[in-house]
Symmetry: C2
Subunit: 460 residues, 2 copies
């Protein structure tokens, strides 16, 4: 594209031939490496063989490599072309409504087939598994964003996709299940009678509405027992955050096109992949002394792992089947209140994001959901996009900073991640507008109990 | 943008400074003018004063002008910037799945705030009304696409937006009502007790599930009785189709960028605004001898005004309150079967599109809904976009032509209008996938009866 000098320019668009062709690996540039992932039995660092029953070797290699850049395969780039490079917008109309001198930019991932950033990693995960001769992928999904992305990705490479969806969501939010089926995926409500883990739960609790932990157990069990089947995860792990760095690499190019340097980068954090995807390339520039943006993670007050949790070794799942990861955690037994931002309801945090927090390379804040929905509605009415509940957290924090600028007169450049649209989340807005939504109280005692039950891991 | 020569290029993007700044008025180039719109009482052509209680003078002027180009106001262009120019895609993955030598392009309007082409006219309609000092707009909506667009547009210019939604849709499809409310609009289920027309219906049928005709009556009544309130219509009228020509003007530029000339332009027709918006600029080029595309309208078999109706004067609404328009009609008493493509369930057709059909300047086909949903699913799995039920009709016809090319070996260039996404229509896909969907039978007797009841208008 040519660079416009029109001050009313709203969209900053890259052509396909400007699409980044490499993922950026932050591990190459960290001042200190993050602590290793441990085998829950031996408490020794896990090796490739420990992960081989679930993941193909290419992804295992990406999980641990310290190479700075990883080439994106051509077949993955060709699928990315359906929506990438994604647009960046200058939020002229929101700025005007706020009366702020700040300049607000948002990078919009809702243009993807699933309506979120998730296909950025679903597509390469499906590709590498297909290359490895795998015939089927299993996964879990809560509200269904990740399941939708993986079903679409599997359709591109001829893989079957089998998804265990938390029963409560399966029953209450059928639109996502329908979208997964349109893309050709198969959805089982979890707990199901298709797995040992599911049958065990159903025997004890025939009316169980499920949990993400149970759904993970079912998906992992099927993958582990079938040689032609692997498992896929939508956040938390290094290789997932790696794939998401296309967001930040594009955003760097887009801001450069309009001659801007960010003062603040703000995104929502659940498992951390959307936030890491946007922030890591900017962090590389910051570590190299080329810019100095504040990097701010926003989490829900009802599930504040970075601001309220402890930095400790914990399991990634509720059932305690995964390796132990050192991360900010509320304890794997902690069940967050049922806020509408289902993608942020995770007890832990990406180990990489957690490490950055410990190293002082990013800061974190927590927001209650009603402030977030109010921000989402102001955003929709001015910018025309109804945000998913998750990125309303980032929007609320961006608005907060913009209003601070209004007081100080600072013309800060704020970049935020709009990681998905809220078309399938409209009942949450309805609850807000009708006055039925509450800010969930934080259950301090439950957090203390869950943190108290963390697995004992020797320090050092 | 620069023109890419990469054969894998998927998106053809225009920069904002390439956005058309004028609407194109086909009336300027028609070999013969269309018949006039008649006053239902006098059977004389309607004049501006007849329309003034409902529409601002700027729109009335646009309804009848024969100027070739109309400048788009700057304030409208600034709102268009939120999603325009809209992208055009080359359907590489669909072509490959079909094994066709045809090259399929689709112009995608689902990127707009409402998720369809409707904001292209909602925004200027809200603008001109605001300029005229109007404080509130009323309208009717069925499934809710038009209501969503108008609510968003009103929010941009500080107008109130009050929408009467057919009770059946209000109850069964709440997501659209919620989206309208997110944008700040007010939705009343119709029939309502807020109007004379609504109260009359409710007195007779307290459990009425409503109809588009009743909802129009309510919206028009409120607009006619309040000097600060006007009415807005989302299709059919000349000025609506005029505003939609931004679609075709952009598409002309986009095809030129990749050096293509279309052999077939295919779109779905309900009231005709999406189809006219894409086709009219190409028709201008065709009339000038610069290209020779076949222009094909696709309608649902259950509501086939162009292929089964008569070309006659009829009312635009069911209640018979509007002026008489000469158009292809199934009779204003005809109630189409409840197909999922609610936007195509209209007894009549834009007078302009109807005139073109009579003049032999376009052709029309009808498609049953299961063929269309099958096409929509193939499209979603290959191209990653779940289409609204309406444009699946255009996709089905594009696929039909591409498969014909596979037999003949012709490498035709097919351009189709993907006028909206189907995120809020997923239950329709669910009905198809679960086998619950039927192709609605055409009620020939009902059509004959409705056509027999057309108002008597002297010929000539």
């Amino acid at each position: 594209m040519t660079t416009s000098t029109d001050p009313r320019q709203t969209k900053i668009i890259l052509d396909e031939d400007e699409q980044p062709t490499q993922w950026y690996n932050l591990l190459a540039d960290l001042p200190t490496p993050p602590p290793p992932v441990l085998h829950p039995g031996t408490l020794e660092p896990v090796g490739p063989d420990d992960l081989a029953p679930l993941f193909p070797m290419d992804l295992i290699a990406q999980e641990v490599t310290t190479e700075r850049y990883i080439d994106i395969p051509g077949a993955v780039l060709d699928v990315y072309r359906l929506w990438r490079p994604s647009p960046m917008y200058r939020a002229h109309r929101l700025e005007k409504a706020l009366g702020t001198p700040a300049r607000i930019y948002y990078k919009y991932e809702g243009v993807s087939p699933a309506g979120s950033h998730k296909p950025n990693t679903a597509v390469p995960q499906a590709y590498y598994n297909a290359q490895a001769g795998i015939r089927r992928l299993t996964t879990e999904t809560g509200a269904g964003q990740w399941g939708t992305a993986l079903a679409f990705a599997c359709a591109q490479f001829g893989l079957e996709c089998e998804i265990w969806q938390v029963r409560a969501s399966y029953d209450q939010k059928p639109y996502r299940r329908m979208m997964i089926e349109v893309f050709g995926g198969t959805v089982h409500p979890s707990p199901s009678d298709l797995t040992e883990a599911g049958r065990r739960i159903l025997a004890e609790h025939p009316d169980s509405t499920g949990s993400l932990g149970i759904a993970i157990s079912e998906a992992v069990e099927v993958a582990a027992q079938n040689a032609d089947t692997n498992y896929a995860l939508g956040s938390v792990l290094n290789h997932v955050l790696l794939h998401q760095t296309v967001i930040g690499e594009e955003a760097l190019l887009q801001l450069a096109k309009v001659g801007e340097t960010p003062d603040l980068i703000v995104g929502c954090t659940g498992g951390g992949s959307n936030f890491g995807g946007l922030a890591f390339p900017f962090l590389r520039e910051k570590l190299a002394g080329k810019m100095a943006p504040v990097i701010r993670a926003v989490e829900p007050s009802a599930c504040p792992s970075l601001t309220r949790g402890v930095y400790a070794y914990d399991f990634g799942d509720t059932a305690g089947m995964t390796p132990l990861m050192k991360m900010h955690t509320l304890g794997h037994d902690f069940i967050p209140d049922p806020i509408h931002a289902g993608g942020l309801r995770y007890h832990g945090m990406s180990p990489l994001i957690s490490h950055l927090k410990e190293e002082g390379l990013l800061e974190a804040v927590a927001k209650p959901q009603r402030e977030c929905f109010a921000a989402g509605i102001q955003f929709a009415r001015t910018e025309g996009i109804v945000p998913a509940p998750e990125p309303t957290h980032a929007i609320a924090a961006a608005i907060e900073e913009a209003l601070r600028c209004k007081e100080t007169g600072e013309a800060k450049v704020i970049l935020t991640a709009l990681c998905g649209h809220g078309h399938l989340d409209l009942p949450a807005y309805d609850a807000y507008l009708s006055g039925a939504m509450q800010d969930q109280a934080l259950d301090d005692a439950a957090i203390n109990e869950a943190i108290g039950a963390l697995p004992p891991v020797p320090v050092g």
